[in-house]
């Protein structure tokens, strides 16, 4: 791994421009200013001239690695610590070759959870007027002529508060900045649904899945959902009906969950984009905990360790495998 450090954004643009010019890059995935508040927008550059729009602000939620499903060739991209885990997963799955990528690690102080802030202020995300980072790792929020200071715990995504990998695990160069040390962060609070009875869990998830519109945004934004053909689109035979019935919504979500087990790094993009607020991260986290407990496996942290569901061992203790 190279240990080159890029000083600032304009140096980064110069470097990328050079890489475009000498053919080392055919595309670049980054961030640009968004058009609505508290959002940036993905930047897809296909020539050096497009790089002028590159911008890094306080809202870099996107895990850009999902675009690698579609954008092929020599691709350069920005990755936060969590995004780099998706890259490791994709390389292990044979979806991308590391040699084709130019990976630029960027610092991440934890991403701001606009929904959580709005919830704690008793309003909708749309009502918040301004959010800026404060010097003490928290944020300053402006809302209806009030100014409030929120702590990191009140302001950041739960996944960021529980992030063990704030530094990119895989990169060609790093953008200079404050990289949080990889100290064990605060653990997530226990999921209150975990302690419920099976009947209560069924009722809870039925209520969640009942409102699924089947827009497939969760699947499409997911870096781990890379199948070129998905079972939901198969119609001969039709495994899952396009009609969003509760039963088929269950099948869709649970099957997707099982299918990305071992590849899903709990990046949380599925939950962020869900237009009807289905708490999909509860499922991802449960799956991650089970993988850790049953297979001693953590997705996206080690390029060498075999994938639990792609491995065959003669001495496997489970009878069914033989």
């Amino acid at each position: 791994m190279a240990n080159q450090v890029i000083e600032n954004l304009s140096d980064l643009i110069s470097l990328l421009t050079e890489l475009f010019r000498n053919g080392r890059l055919t595309s670049f995935l980054g961030y640009q200013k968004g058009t609505v508040k508290f959002k940036s927008s993905p930047l897809i550059a296909s020539r050096a001239e497009d790089l002028a729009a590159l911008n890094l602000d306080d809202f870099l939620h996107y895990n850009l690695t999902f675009y690698l499903k579609e954008i092929k060739g020599k691709v350069g991209l920005l990755v936060k610590g969590c995004d780099s885990r998706s890259l490791i997963s994709l390389i292990k799955e044979g979806q991308v070759q590391k040699e084709d990528l130019y990976i630029i690690g960027i610092p991440c102080p934890g991403q701001i959870d606009v929904k959580k802030i709005a919830f704690s202020m008793g309003c909708d995300p749309e009502d918040l007027e301004d959010i800026t980072r404060s010097e003490e790792d928290g944020v300053i929020v402006r809302f209806r002529q009030q100014v409030q200071r929120l702590t990191k715990e009140q302001a950041l995504l739960d996944k960021c508060l529980a992030c063990f990998y704030p530094q990119p695990l895989l990169y060609d160069v790093l953008l200079q900045g404050d990289y949080l040390p990889p100290v064990p962060p605060k653990l997530r609070g226990e999921d209150e649904t975990a302690r419920k009875s099976a009947a209560e869990k069924w009722a809870y998830w039925s209520a969640q899945f009942a409102r699924c519109l089947r827009c497939y945004a969760c699947r499409n934004i997911c870096p781990a959902c890379f199948c070129p053909r998905c079972v939901v689109e198969e119609n001969m035979p039709e495994w899952i009906s396009p009609v969003p019935t509760l039963g088929d919504n269950f099948v869709f979500h649970l099957m997707r969950l099982m299918h990305v087990a071992g590849t899903c790094t709990s990046c949380g993009e599925c939950e962020r984009v869900c237009p009807v607020e289905i708490p999909l991260m509860k499922l991802n986290e449960k799956m991650a905990a089970d993988l850790k407990e049953l297979f001693a496996f953590e997705p996206g942290v080690d390029l060498e360790k075999p994938l639990p569901f792609r491995t065959y061992r003669q001495e496997d203790p489970n009878e069914f495998i033989k």
């Binding site: 609505v36 993905p42 897809i44 749309e126 519109l213 934004i221 396009p242 019935t245 962020r272 607020e277």
Partner: protein, 330 residues
């Protein structure tokens, strides 16, 4: 004709409306605003607009059309009769009220869709002026007035004391003649109008309309603007005017139910046919969405199939902003 009502009486009136039929009001459920049946929830002190557009109550994502049953020697079929129970929706924003009228020629054309039309017929619409411009919205560019709407039976403007109501239809008038409202005048109505903090118009709709045909063949333009689209159905499913649907059977060998559910032009298999897919590439599908709303729909029905509500902008997972495309075409 104008009336006024104070906050307390308004809440009593809402409860009294339940004697007339099912009452739906904007309600926050599971962290998202929807129109929900009025039960014990309070009238919201403040809301921008519902996440799920009102079309969902008229053209739902899961509409049973007919059922069938097969027994040796006989085949039976039953239509589902559209519901006839009266409904009242209170608190529709002007954009959503307009969308219901825009969809009417689609469902009342050569083939009259009994489900949509019956739903329209059985529902009294009580609109509400906006208090703020929603993020991502461009209603005024789309000629929807956030402070007034003729697409309802009654239209309300909020005041610090309560509401001023404008009666638009006869059936609306019937609802106000129940002792809750006091008569008001044109000046009360004008005084209740809220200043909407604005920005300059992003584009002139007439110019967009005129330019769209010439943009259609510019493949590079569409490839560029659609590059970040992830082919999900959020923009179409949250759109108050998108109305493409699929028809599917849920069945066993002996019996089944035929459903209508939403479909989206953003999906790669939307136009999949036996031989090929005429819109296999993403840019063709995105071009279709914009062209359908701003060009083809206009050719068919002399109206633009967009009310500028901004849901597609605000809830797009990758901030693909329709306003930027319209501005570029302008």
């Amino acid at each position: 004709m104008f009336f006024k009502i104070n906050q307390g009486k308004f809440k009593e009136w809402l409860l009294a409306l339940k004697n007339q039929g099912e009452v739906y009001i904007p309600t926050k459920e599971n962290n998202l605003w929807v129109y929900a049946l009025l039960e014990r929830q309070e009238w919201p002190a403040y809301f921008l607009n519902t996440r799920i557009p009102v079309k969902n109550l008229f053209f739902p994502n899961r509409q049973a059309l007919l059922s069938w049953k097969y027994e040796p020697g006989s085949m039976g079929m039953n239509s589902f009769v559209p519901e006839g129970k009266k409904r009242l929706i209170v608190g529709l924003r002007p954009c959503d009220s307009r969308s219901l009228q825009l969809l009417k020629p689609v469902f009342a054309g050569e083939y009259a869709d009994i489900f949509y039309l019956k739903n329209l017929d059985r529902t009294i619409l009580i609109g509400l002026a906006c208090s703020q411009i929603c993020p991502g919205s461009f209603c005024r560019e789309m000629q929807v007035d956030p402070q007034d709407s003729a697409d309802n039976d009654i239209f309300l403007r909020a005041t610090p004391e309560g509401f001023v109501a404008k009666v638009i239809t006869e059936r609306g008038k019937g609802l106000l003649a129940q002792g809750f409202f006091a008569e008001a005048g044109e000046n009360d109505w004008a005084a209740a109008a809220q200043e909407m903090p604005g920005r300059d118009a992003l584009f002139d709709l007439e110019i967009v309309k005129a330019n769209l045909n010439s943009f259609f063949a510019q493949e590079e333009f569409w490839q560029k603007v659609s590059a970040k689209c992830l082919n999900c159905g959020i923009c179409t499913y949250l759109c108050p005017t998108c109305h493409c649907f699929d028809i599917c059977d849920l069945r066993t060998p002996e019996k089944g139910v035929r459903f209508r559910c939403y479909d989206s032009c953003a999906f790669p298999n939307f136009t999949k046919m036996a031989v090929h897919n005429p819109r296999a590439e993403k840019w063709r599908r995105y071009r279709q969405r914009v062209s359908h709303k701003f060009n083809f729909f206009f050719q068919n029905f002399q109206a633009i199939a967009c009310v500028g509500c901004g849901r597609c902008v605000n809830f797009c997972p990758v901030n693909l902003d329709l306003r930027e495309i319209l501005t570029a075409i302008h």
